[in-house]
Each structure stands twice: as structure tokens, then as C-alpha cells.
């Protein structure tokens, strides 16, 4: 049972295809969306989005966004989304270090929430970049 999933960012249509299931991390927790789900809108947390089609699973990193499910299709709207192979690991590493340093030094006027978010984004990217192999394998569930 497939339904249409679209993932759009401001500069491109990232993904648009029929899928069997999509698992996203909403602000309230993970949710799996199947065909004919009741309409839903919820913001997403920093995390991964898992797209499952024909027993094959694809994973992408999302930072900030929301998902809107309607009768016809599910749409993920996000500022930035990347496949594991697209992630710039060096950049993520340095972002992680920067955020960690900032949190450690605790300078005055530090925006802790922002630094923590930056750290989580970096960790999420690194985490998913490590899944590079994973996307190519077929998983039997």
C-alpha cells in the first residue's frame, strides 16, 4: 500500500515518490505514517526521516521542519534535509566542536539553547552520515 511522499526545502524538491511507510521524529515522539492516515500536522524534531518502500529503507537527516499529512499525500517541509552521502562530515565535525567549546566555556551572554541546538544538529548529521552503508543494503524486516 503505497502513498505519495514529498519532501520540499526552500531551494528544491528533495524527494517525491510513492512510499509504503515513512517514520519521522515529531516533537512529541516518533511517528510512522502509513497510507490513509488521518490528516495531521506536526512540527519535527532534529532527527532522521526513514522512508520505507518495497522493503528498502532510505534515511535522511532533517533539521527543523514539519510534516503535513492529507488524504492524498504526506509532505515534509524543512529548511534542510540531506541524504547520508551528501553530508559534509568535516563541516559537521567542526560545528560539533564549536558548539561543545561554547557550551564548555559558558561565556557571558551565551545563548545556551542555540548552542545546544547547533550541537544536536551536528550530532544528528554525523550519526546519519555513518549510515552511508546502510542505505545501500537491503533490509528484510
Amino acid at each position: 500500500m503505497a502513498f505519495k511522499l514529498e519532501i520540499v526545502t526552500p531551494d528544491k524538491a528533495f524527494f517525491s515518490d510513492e512510499v509504503d511507510m515513512v517514520i519521522v521524529r515529531g516533537v512529541e515522539g516518533d511517528l510512522a505514517i502509513l497510507k490513509n492516515r488521518a490528516p495531521l500536522i506536526t512540527p519535527l524534531d532534529i532527527g532522521k526521516i526513514r522512508i520505507i518502500n518495497d522493503g528498502e529503507e532510505k534515511v535522511a537527516a532533517v533539521t527543523d521542519g514539519y510534516i503535513s499529512v492529507t488524504k492524498e499525500k504526506a509532505t515534509v517541509i524543512t529548511d534542510s534535509v540531506e541524504w547520508p552521502e551528501e553530508i559534509d562530515i568535516e563541516r559537521a565535525e567542526s560545528a560539533k566542536e564549536r558548539a561543545e567549546n561554547r557550551l564548555r566555556e559558558k561565556k557571558e551572554g551565551l545563548d545556551v539553547a542555540r548552542a545546544e541546538l547547533a550541537l544536536r544538529r551536528a550530532l544528528n548529521r554525523l550519526d546519519i552520515a555513518n549510515l552511508k552503508e546502510f542505505n545501500n543494503e537491503k533490509i528484510n524486516q
Partner: protein
């Protein structure tokens, strides 16, 4: 006579040089225009989806109280002025600057500006307006993070009630040859307020955690995407305006060289005629 033909020749050469430059600029901006238009197309689905979703929620909630939608008495205004970083684009920068200045001339001390593009920044700074923030060097290829930064500044100021309304002035891209300066009210949002008033029950949609929180999340997204849209439209318009301006300049240069060539030939002809008649008169005298 010899003097004047040389002068004309020099001018023809000069104009030809300029023509080459304007021609090259025309080609460059048409290439950039093509790229900018693709970007414009790609940004539409994002904007449309966000807009549709907000509409759905507003329709669901009916009359809601959200600071970004509520009108308040306008004391101080903020204008986001989107121009280019470079000139030679016909009336592109002047149109936007003029539109803004006409509106704020009489309330100078109650207006702040955010300048996008160095042309607008220089114009308003030199006239003593209060330029709160400036974004330069990205007008030809704006990214979403630019829009996010601008949006965050604006929303923070609006929430602190430093400003009571926000307008954005950009250039709408109608077609390759026609662009128009436009002013849009960003906060409180006109287009969203309209949606709010006409409540309609659509399909029942679930919101997680709840509708208010989703709306709190979506409205800033919407504001950012409107700003992004305006940036992209302006970057398209900029290239379009520059292309048209350079095309005209090239045409004019061609016309001028044609005219000059004509007068050059005339001058040459006149010189030859004089010479011949001198020779004839000389030969006549020798008889």
C-alpha cells in the same frame, strides 16, 4: 578635413568598445536570469505548502489571537528594502528607493529600515534614515538562511514592540522585460488576517501537540518564506532589468556607430571632392 575624419574614427572606436562591454554584460545577465528563474520556480512549492497549511489551521481555529495577526496602533514602522548591490540595471534600484522614500519622507523619525543590497543602504544612509541592519553581497544569489536571519530580526523587534508594523518592498518579476516595485505588509500579516476572518470548516486535521503550538511554529516559517520569496523575486528582476538596460545600451551604441559611420563617409567624400576640385583648378591654371 583630415582632422575631423580622424576624430570621428576615434569616436567610432570608443563606442564600439563600450558596445562590446554592454553586450558582454547582457549575455552574463541573461545567463544569470535563467539560473535565478529556475530558483524562483523551485522555491514556489515550499511557499505554497506553508501557505496552504497555515490557511488550514486558521480555518480550523477560526478567530484566534496571535500577536502576528492582530492589528495594533501603528507608532513605529519598519521597512525591509530590497535593492541590488550593483547598478547598471535601469530603474531597478531607483524605483524601489523612490517608492520607499515617498512613503516615509514625512515620518522620518518613526521609521527604521533593514537594507538588503548596498544600493538601497547607501541611498538611505546618506539621507539620514535609521538603517537598523544591512545585508549586502547576497542579492544576486540569496539563500534561505539570509531570509531566516532577516525574519528573526524582524520578529524579535516586533515582539518587543519596538516596531508596530513591518513592510517589505521588493521588485516583482512579471516577465523578462517587465518588473514592478511592490510593497507588501508582512506584520501584522494582511493575507493571513483575511484568511482568519473567513472561517471555513475543512477536513478535520490532527495537530500535535495542539493547534496553537503548530501555529506558533508555522507563522514564523511563513514570514521567512515570504521574505525568501521576495529576495528571489528581486534577484530575478534585477537580472531582468539589467539585461534589458544592457540590451538597450547595445542597440543605442549600434545606432550611434551607424550615424557616425555615415558622417565619416560624408567627411571622407567631401575631402576627396575638395582634393579633386583643387587638382582640376590647378590643371586649369596651367593651361
Amino acid at each position: 578635413m583630415a582632422e575631423s575624419t580622424r576624430d570621428i574614427k576615434r569616436r567610432i572606436r570608443g563606442i564600439n568598445n563600450i558596445k562590446q562591454i554592454t553586450k558582454a554584460m547582457e549575455l552574463v545577465s541573461s545567463a544569470r536570469l535563467r539560473r535565478a528563474r529556475i530558483k524562483l520556480e523551485k522555491s514556489r512549492p515550499y511557499y505554497n505548502t506553508v501557505y496552504e497549511n497555515i490557511k488550514e489551521i486558521l480555518g480550523e481555529l477560526g478567530n484566534i489571537n496571535h500577536p502576528y495577526l492582530n492589528m495594533r496602533d501603528v507608532e513605529r514602522s519598519l521597512y525591509i528594502v530590497i535593492t541590488a548591490d550593483r547598478g547598471l540595471a535601469g530603474g531597478f534600484n531607483a524605483n524601489v528607493n523612490r517608492m520607499v522614500e515617498n512613503e516615509i519622507r514625512n515620518k522620518k523619525d518613526k521609521v527604521s529600515l533593514i537594507a538588503v543590497g548596498s544600493k538601497g543602504r547607501d541611498y538611505f544612509k546618506s539621507r539620514g534614515y535609521d538603517v537598523k541592519a544591512e545585508f549586502v553581497g547576497m542579492t544576486e544569489n540569496p539563500s534561505f538562511s539570509n531570509a531566516r536571519n532577516i525574519g528573526n530580526i524582524v520578529m524579535e523587534m516586533y515582539e518587543k514592540e519596538e516596531i508596530d508594523e513591518v513592510k517589505i518592498v521588493y521588485t516583482e518579476f512579471i516577465s523578462t522585460i517587465s518588473q514592478e516595485a511592490k510593497m507588501l505588509k508582512l506584520l501584522p500579516s494582511d493575507s493571513l488576517a483575511e484568511e482568519k476572518s473567513e472561517k471555513k470548516k475543512s477536513a478535520i486535521v490532527e495537530f500535535e501537540p495542539d493547534a496553537d503550538e503548530v501555529l506558533d511554529y508555522l507563522i514564523p516559517k511563513y514570514i521567512q518564506s515570504v521574505i525568501y520569496g521576495a529576495l528571489i523575486e528581486s534577484s530575478c528582476s534585477q537580472q531582468g532589468a539589467r539585461r534589458t538596460a544592457m540590451e538597450n545600451a547595445t542597440d543605442n551604441a549600434e545606432e550611434m556607430t551607424d550615424e557616425l559611420e555615415l558622417s565619416f563617409n560624408r567627411a571622407r567624400q567631401a575631402a576627396i571632392t575638395t582634393e579633386i576640385s583643387e587638382i582640376v583648378t590647378g590643371a586649369e591654371a596651367l593651361k
